[in-house]
Structures are given as structure tokens and as C-alpha cells.
């Protein structure tokens, strides 16, 4: 394995993806799967070779000398590894998902996207980073759209915000280049850290430009509304990738550039709130806000994919808070939650895709009772939501716990309160998903629904095992963080295979899991020795044997699912939840008005002369005013 492998894992998927554009759909999915195996294999052997890099130099007059460098940093490798593993699982899932009936033509684009992802995580210079970033943006746009008018609205919304971020990043990259004279990311970090004391305005401008790009990609406030459209409208199997991996690019960016800058800045250089530099405190508040908004919106959503999209937003908020604390604990927590979110949200979206695959429904209240016919899907979803809610034996708890420890360390109790609110709200919407899709009445329409096909089931089972493993043995994941933390200029954290040490206490997740198992054992014993049980059809009990169908009430109406939390809706009416979205829409409308105004000045034949005169006046005004 030489360093030539680095460009290979970036370029090969892109080229193969281009080639695949002219191949049949089903074959493409196989190629996609097989290449992902190769890529994952290559990526997992990279680590053992230690630091390696591939450099490519060229010169343009416009850009000066450019040293493009792909290299493996601890952070990059970590993201690369988890993303390639997850991609492998999702591609296995997609193999069965895209059968003859459901097949979409997105495999080539997806493969290009995988190449772009690898590029982002390997880039050591801004040019490569930017190129990969843009490649990722537009390929994902077409995947989200996948030829549906309704989906495309979501896609273009996503792309507009993302492109806005990209443009901000372009500005940031140039400002940084003019300051450092180099395209290298690491020298940019060092220089910006120095500038925070000497040229504060400049450094903050650069930082905020990059932050805009990363926030837009990670759907943090004020860019939090695109996932509910994009995740919901994307192809079902792609939603898992979108939520599991794509939303983490921004997190990666923040960990790559923003957090190290503040880590390298000596204490006291910049005013701090609660022990956190104020820009980072603002980031923390924005992230907390994101998770509160995401939670509240999720509670009142009827579309299952939208619900989970809002849940993704909420979880990214957690990650943002974690890394905004800027401590090693917070940094590690952010990474840990990234991994966990990848697993549990991957699992959840995979199970939703399986449900959609079998039933074709997306509105939750039309479903119900699918647990009884799709047990593997149900268990994936169940473990997913347990992890998402942060309940102990599963992985989500460990990372949430670490995030809270990071907050307690800095005594950021108000941010923590917001997160607790989001965390409690998570139970509401997660249970709602569980109940409305999988529990309650099984509609007769779905009585003959089968379990998901084998490869889909297999990848869901693997995801379940991963979630459990990371939950019971957190050290499997946290053990990898110390290299990354040291590389970012932070102290290592204390962790073993079984336990983690936070600021206020340490926990032993394995112990928690085992006492839980013990308690369940006790109850199971009670359950077994209790009287015998009889299996009765649902209708035979609470409708007293009457069939509601006789009164023209179908079981799907008897299934309490629609507008689940209607009684408490009024409680949230005071929150200005849609205000940002309304702002964007107003901006869009303003632009349309402006466009109409301009075209009406100019396209109306009678105003030709006037436009000329107006132009002359405009020149005079600008010339004289400036």
C-alpha cells in the first residue's frame, strides 16, 4: 500500500462514477457495492502505514504555486474510516433496495460523491478541499432531486444554502491565502490562531466565513431547515447516507479548522464567557438552539422521514455544542456522537427505507403495527431510537454523557438546560415514530407485508451489533480519539475499554449494561414463573370482539397516530420557529421581485431610452459619490 493509494481512493470512484453513467442501473449498484468494499479495505490498511501523503504541485498565474496534498491525519483517517464503513453498509443495503421495481439511477452520482467524501477527509490543502467540497455539493443535489419535481425543490433549497456556504468558504480561503501565502490547512490554522491576538478583526472574519460554510453543510442554526426537506425527499436509501455521513462534513470542518484555532490560542487572548472564547460560546448557543428547534419541529411532524430529519438536526446540535466547548472532552464527545449518530440514524433511516420499500407509505399515521410483521426492521428502529434518545445500554448515551460532562466542566449550565430539553423532547418524537409506524394497530392492508430482503436485513443487523458494541464497550471508539486530540493541540482524555472519565464523574458503561441485563433477567424470571399467557387477537380484547369494520371504522382509523401530540401543540405556539425560514423565503421573494423589476424596466420596449438615461445617471451618481 503506497501513498499512491490516496489519489486512488479519491479519483477512482469519481472516474468510475462517470463511466457508470452509461451503464445499466442494476449493474451499477453491484459496481457501487464492490468498489466500496475495495475502498473500505484500502482505507483500513492506511492507518497501519502511519503518516503518508501524496503531493501534487502545479502553478497557475491566478493562484500562484499550488501544492495539492492528500494525506492521512488522525482526524481525517477517523472520519474516513467511519464513513467508508458506513458507506459499505449502506451500499449493501441499497443493493437490495434498488431492485427492478424501486431502482433509481443514482449509483454513479453516489459513487462520485463517495470519491468527493474521501477527498474532503484526505485534503491537506484548501484547493483540494474546496474542489472535493463542491463536487460533493452538486452530485448530492442531483441525488436528492433524482428526477422528481417535488424532491428537487428540497434539493435546490439544500444546494442554495450549501452554495452560499461554499462561496463564504471561497472568500475565507482567499483571505487566508493572502495572509499566509500558502494553501495549506495546517499553516492556516496556525496563522489564524496568531492573528486572533494581533489582527483580531481579520481572524474573526476568516473564522466566521468558514463557519458559515460548515454550519450550512451541517444544518446548524440558521441553516437548520434544509434537512427536513432534503432528507425527506431524497431517495430512501440515500437518506441514511445523507444523515449519517453528509451532515458530518461541516462537523469535520469545524473540528479541522475552527476548534484547533481556538485550542492553539493562548488563554486570555480573547474574551471568554463561562471559560469558553466568546465566538465559541455563540457557536454553542446556536447549536443548542438548533437542537431545541429540531426537537420541537420533530415532535409535531407527521412525515416519518421529516421527523427523523428534524431529529438529525437536533443531534447535530448536540455535536455542535460538544465541539464548541473546545475542551478535549467536548471534542471527543463531538466525534463520539458523530460516530453514534452515523450508526443509529443510519439504522433508523435504513429501517424507514425498509418500511417504505415494503409498504410505499411515508405518512406515519397510515402505517402501524409493522413490528409484528417486520421484526428485524423493528428491532433496528428500536435500538436506533434507544440510542438516539441516549438511553444507557446503547451508544447514544455514552456520547451524550460526554457532551454533558464537557458542559459541566465549563459550567455551561444554560446551554446544558437547552440540551436536556431537547433530549427529553427526543423521547416524545422517537416514541411517536416507534408507536405510529411499528406498534398499535396493524392495518389489514399490511397484513401480508414481509420482512425486508436479506441484504437489507443483514446490513441492519450489522448496524444493530455496532450500536450495541459501542454502547457496551465505549472504549472501542473513544480509544481512538487521543491521537486526534493530541494532533489538534488538546490533552488526551481518560478512557478504557469499559469506562469513560468525565469532569464530574466517571462511568462504566459495561457495568451499566450488565446490571441492566441482570435486572431484565430478574424480571424475566418473574415473568416466566407468572401465570400462563394466552395470545389473543388485538380486536378481541378492547373492542369486545366487535369488528370495528362493521361500523365502517377501519383499524387504521382506530390506530392513534395522526397528530399525536395535538393536545400540547398550543404550548409551543409562542416559539418563533419558522422565522428563519420565513426570512429566507422573503429573501427569495425579494430577489424575484428585483428580477421582475429589472426585467420590466428593460424588457418593456418603451423604456429603452429611459434605461439608458437611468444608466447615465447611475454612472454619475456612483462616480461623484465615491
Amino acid at each position: 500500500m503506497t501513498s499512491n493509494m490516496l489519489p486512488f481512493i479519491v479519483i477512482a470512484p469519481v472516474l468510475l462514477g462517470l463511466l457508470m453513467l452509461s451503464m445499466p442501473k442494476r449493474l451499477n449498484w453491484w459496481i457501487f457495492f464492490l468498489l466500496n468494499i475495495v475502498l473500505a479495505g484500502v482505507i483500513f490498511t492506511l492507518k497501519s502505514k502511519g503518516a503518508m501523503s501524496f503531493t501534487f504541485q502545479w502553478t497557475l498565474f491566478g493562484t500562484g504555486k499550488v501544492v495539492q496534498k492528500l494525506g492521512v491525519t488522525p482526524l481525517g483517517w477517523f472520519f474516513l474510516a467511519i464513513s467508508s464503513a458506513a458507506t459499505l453498509l449502506f451500499s449493501m443495503f441499497s443493493l437490495d433496495f434498488n431492485d427492478k421495481k424501486h431502482s433509481t439511477a443514482i449509483a454513479p452520482l453516489w459513487l462520485m460523491l463517495v470519491g468527493a467524501t474521501n477527498g474532503i477527509f484526505l485534503s491537506q490543502d484548501w484547493i483540494s478541499f474546496f474542489i472535493s467540497w463542491e463536487l460533493m455539493s452538486w452530485t448530492s443535489l442531483f441525488i436528492i432531486g433524482h428526477g422528481k419535481t417535488s424532491s428537487f425543490k428540497a434539493g435546490i433549497y439544500y444546494y442554495a444554502l450549501s452554495f452560499f456556504g461554499t462561496m463564504a468558504m471561497m472568500a475565507g480561503i482567499w483571505l487566508l491565502f493572502h495572509r499566509t501565502g500558502s494553501w495549506e490547512i495546517s499553516s492556516g490554522v496556525l496563522k489564524t490562531a496568531q492573528d486572533l491576538s494581533s489582527h483580531r478583526g481579520f481572524a474573526l472574519t476568516v473564522l466566521s466565513l468558514f463557519t458559515v460554510a460548515f454550519l450550512a453543510k451541517s444544518a446548524l442554526f440558521p441553516f437548520h431547515m434544509w434537512p427536513q426537506m432534503a432528507h425527506a425527499e431524497a431517495p430512501d436509501d440515500f437518506s441514511a447516507y445523507l444523515s449519517g455521513i453528509m451532515i458530518k462534513y461541516g462537523v469535520y470542518g469545524l473540528l479541522l479548522f475552527i476548534v484547533p484555532v481556538f485550542a492553539l490560542t493562548p488563554r486570555g487572548t480573547i474574551k471568554s464567557i463561562s471559560g469558553v472564547p466568546w465566538p465559541m460560546y455563540i457557536l454553542a448557543v446556536m447549536s443548542a438552539l438548533t437542537s431545541v428547534i429540531g426537537t420541537v419541529m420533530a415532535i409535531f411532524t407527521n412525515d416519518m422521514k421529516k421527523l427523523m430529519a428534524w431529529s438529525t438536526v437536533a443531534n447535530v446540535g448536540y455535536i455542535g455544542v460538544g465541539l464548541a466547548t473546545g475542551t478535549s472532552l467536548g471534542y471527543a464527545a463531538a466525534m463520539f456522537h458523530t460516530v453514534n449518530h452515523m450508526m443509529f440514524k443510519g439504522g433508523i433511516f435504513a429501517s424507514l427505507a425498509a418500511v417504505k420499500y415494503r409498504t410505499g407509505e411515508r405518512e406515519m399515521h397510515r402505517l402501524g403495527g409493522l413490528a409484528y410483521v417486520m421484526p428485524i426492521t423493528f428491532f433496528t428502529f428500536l435500538l436506533g431510537i434507544i440510542a438516539a434518545a441516549g438511553i444507557p445500554p446503547l451508544s447514544g448515551f455514552n456520547s451524550k454523557w460526554m457532551i454533558f460532562q464537557a458542559l459541566f466542566e465549563k459550567k455551561m449550565v444554560f446551554v446544558a438546560t437547552a440540551l436536556f430539553f431537547a433530549s427529553t423532547g427526543a423521547f416524545l418524537y422517537l416514541f411517536r415514530g416507534l408507536h405510529t409506524i411499528f406498534l398499535g394497530q396493524l392495518s389489514p392492508r399490511f397484513r401480508n407485508v414481509k420482512e425486508a430482503p436479506p441484504l437489507m436485513s443483514l446490513s441492519m443487523i450489522v448496524l444493530m451489533i455496532l450500536m450495541l458494541a459501542a454502547g457496551i464497550f465505549p472504549g472501542l471508539v473513544t480509544g481512538r480519539f487521543n491521537d486526534i486530540l493530541v494532533a489538534a493541540g488538546l490533552n488526551p482524555i481518560k478512557t478504557t475499554l469499559y469506562s469513560m472519565t468525565g469532569s464530574t464523574t466517571s462511568i462504566n458503561s459495561t457495568l451499566v449494561a450488565s446490571v441492566f441485563a441482570l435486572a431484565v433477567g430478574v424480571v424475566f424470571f418473574l415473568f416466566v414463573i407468572g401465570g400462563r399467557k394466552r395470545r389473543v387477537k388485538m380486536m378481541d380484547n378492547y373492542t369486545c370482539g366487535e369488528d370495528p369494520l362493521d361500523w365502517n371504522v377501519g383499524p387504521d382509523r382506530y390506530h392513534y397516530g395522526y397528530d399525536f401530540y395535538q393536545p400540547i401543540k398550543g404550548l409551543f405556539s409562542w416559539m418563533p420557529l419558522g422565522v428563519v425560514e420565513k426570512g429566507y423565503n422573503a429573501l427569495g421573494r425579494f430577489m424575484e421581485r428585483l428580477g421582475n423589476l429589472v426585467t420590466s424596466i428593460s424588457a418593456d420596449g418603451t423604456r429603452l431610452g429611459w434605461s439608458f438615461v437611468l444608466g447615465v445617471i447611475l454612472i454619475i451618481v456612483i462616480g461623484v459619490v465615491k
Partner: protein
């Protein structure tokens, strides 16, 4: 004997002990309520009889999710009970309050899953109310806990309990008076007593979650409530009432907490669900917030 096996046996003891304590409280509670309402009430051991009777009956199930959920529910709560220090002693050596808060949730989740798998809309409505109410009481509760947490820089319940062991003057009631009020209000909702008994609401939704449970399922349901009482009263005692130096003091304090709750329950009517949450947010929430602000800035 192997240390792990010994610990296991102890934990099994704790699990049955917590059930027993909870059932005893329930029995006494029924007596107390009856006396407030000028009735005789059942004997204090009635709950034990009920549970045993339930376990001997034939029960109805609809599907495997129901079994799973109900087992998970009680298992989760018992696991939580392991983490509650009893008489200033924590059997697992540590009892992080964050774990307690989150582990308790698995009990709720299991319960919710089990009963909503029964397919009865009443049960689901009950669950949806319970979860909604959770948003009401969890936030004030957490805020108060965080106030303690930043004072002691520890999230161990045992630390809090030990810190209050110097007589009644060192109790957290005095140190965190606003917090105590907040938690008391939240506690009323936590155990689901009036005015926050939306989840059960016998007259509206036929006891909500319990509606479809029978036989041993109902028995486990009772046990669930029992362990919940144990955990939650234990939590309050450890947080505010100075823990305890001996097991009977602990029990007395725990019952005292429950007694207060019952007394309020006996004389209150039920809020509507959104009124209840609003009430919790406004009163418990503001007290908790004030406590947190006070502690963060001057504490």
C-alpha cells in the same frame, strides 16, 4: 465466592427489596388516602396480595412486543434502583445522577412500547400524555440538579447525600430552597399524582396504559409503579433531605416525601394536559431557573 457473583446476589436482593419497599408504600398510601377521605381503606399489605394474585392469573398478550416492552420497563427501573444510594450507601460504588435520569427513561420507553403494542388507543393516549408531561417536569428537575452539580463539581448522588450528613441544618432544603420547591412540584408530576395524573386519568381514558394489561402483565405494571416510587422518593431524599445514616431513617424520609405527595393528590383535581405542562414550566421551571441562576452566579 466470586466477587461478581456476590455483587449479583446483592443486586438481586436490591431488586426485590425495592419492589417490596415500593409495594409497602403503595399500600400505606392507599390507607393514607382513604383516611383523608374518611374511609377505612384496605390493609397496608393489600398491594402485595394484588401483585401475587395478578401473577397467578392467566393473562392475555397480543404479540411479542408487549412481552418485551413490559419486561424492559421493569428491568430498566430496577436497574435504576441499583444506582440510588440507600442510607448513604451505593451498592455499585457510583451513582451518577445523569445515569439515573437516563436509565429511568428506558423504563418509560419499555412501558410505552409494551402497552402501545396492545393496540388500544386509550393506552397510547395515556402514553402520549405521560411523555408530554415528562417535558414538563424533567427540565425543572434537571436545572436543580445542575445547580448542585456545579456546586460540588460532582454528579454523584452519594456526594450530595454525604454533604448533608451534618444534621438537619446542612440539608439541601435550606441551601437550595427554590430548587426544593421546583423539585417538589416536579415530583408530583413524576409520580403521576393529581393534579398531574393525566396518564392514568381513570375517568377519561380508562387508566391509560394499564387498560389492556391483565394477569402478570398487570402485576408487572404494579411492580413498575412500586419501583418507580422507590427510585423517585429515594432520589429526593438523597438530593434534599440529607440522605440517611440508617435504613429505617431512609425509609421514613422516603415515605414522608410520598406522604406529602399523596396529601396533595387527595385534595387536588386534574389539570388539562397542556395546563399541567404550562403550570410545571411556569412554576417549577421558574423556581428551578432562579435557583440555577443564583447558584451559577453567586453559589
Amino acid at each position: 465466592m466470586n466477587a461478581y457473583a456476590l455483587l449479583g446476589i446483592k443486586l438481586i436482593g436490591v431488586s426485590f427489596g425495592s419492589m417490596a419497599v415500593g409495594l409497602l408504600f403503595m399500600g400505606l398510601g392507599r390507607k393514607v388516602t382513604a383516611r383523608i377521605q374518611r374511609r377505612m381503606g384496605p390493609p397496608f399489605y393489600q398491594s402485595f396480595i394484588d401483585v401475587i394474585k395478578c401473577f397467578t392469573k392467566t393473562s392475555i398478550t397480543h404479540n411479542f412486543v408487549m412481552d418485551l416492552g413490559i419486561i424492559m420497563a421493569l428491568g430498566g427501573l430496577i436497574a435504576t434502583a441499583f444506582f440510588i444510594p440507600f442510607a448513604n450507601f451505593s451498592i455499585l460504588g457510583s451513582s451518577s445522577v445523569v445515569i439515573v435520569l437516563y436509565l429511568m427513561s428506558i423504563g418509560y420507553l419499555g412501558m410505552a412500547m409494551g402497552v402501545s403494542a396492545s393496540g388500544n388507543p386509550n393506552a397510547t393516549i395515556g402514553i402520549s400524555r405521560a411523555l408530554a408531561l415528562m417535558m414538563g417536569y424533567e427540565i425543572p428537575f434537571v436545572m436543580v440538579i445542575m445547580a448542585m452539580l456545579i456546586t460540588y463539581n460532582s454528579s454523584d448522588l452519594l456526594t450530595y447525600a454525604v454533604a448533608q450528613s451534618n444534621g438537619i441544618g446542612s440539608w439541601h432544603i435550606w441551601k437550595y430552597p427554590l430548587g426544593f420547591i421546583a423539585v417538589e412540584i416536579a415530583f408530583q408530576a413524576m409520580v403521576g399524582e393529581a393534579p398531574y395524573d393525566h396518564m392514568i386519568a381513570p375517568a377519561e381514558i380508562a387508566s391509560g396504559p394499564m387498560v389492556e394489561l391483565s394477569g402478570k402483565y398487570l402485576g408487572i405494571g404494579f411492580l413498575l409503579h412500586a419501583v418507580q416510587l422507590y427510585v423517585e422518593t429515594g432520589l429526593i431524599v438523597n438530593l434534599f433531605l440529607g440522605g440517611a445514616s440508617s435504613w429505617y431513617v431512609m425509609l421514613v424520609k422516603m415515605f414522608a416525601v410520598y406522604f406529602t405527595t399523596l396529601s396533595i393528590n387527595a385534595v387536588m383535581a386534574r389539570y388539562r394536559i397542556e395546563q399541567g405542562i404550562r403550570h410545571l414550566w411556569i412554576w417549577a421551571g421558574s423556581f428551578g431557573l432562579l435557583q440555577l441562576i443564583y447558584t451559577r452566579i453567586w453559589g
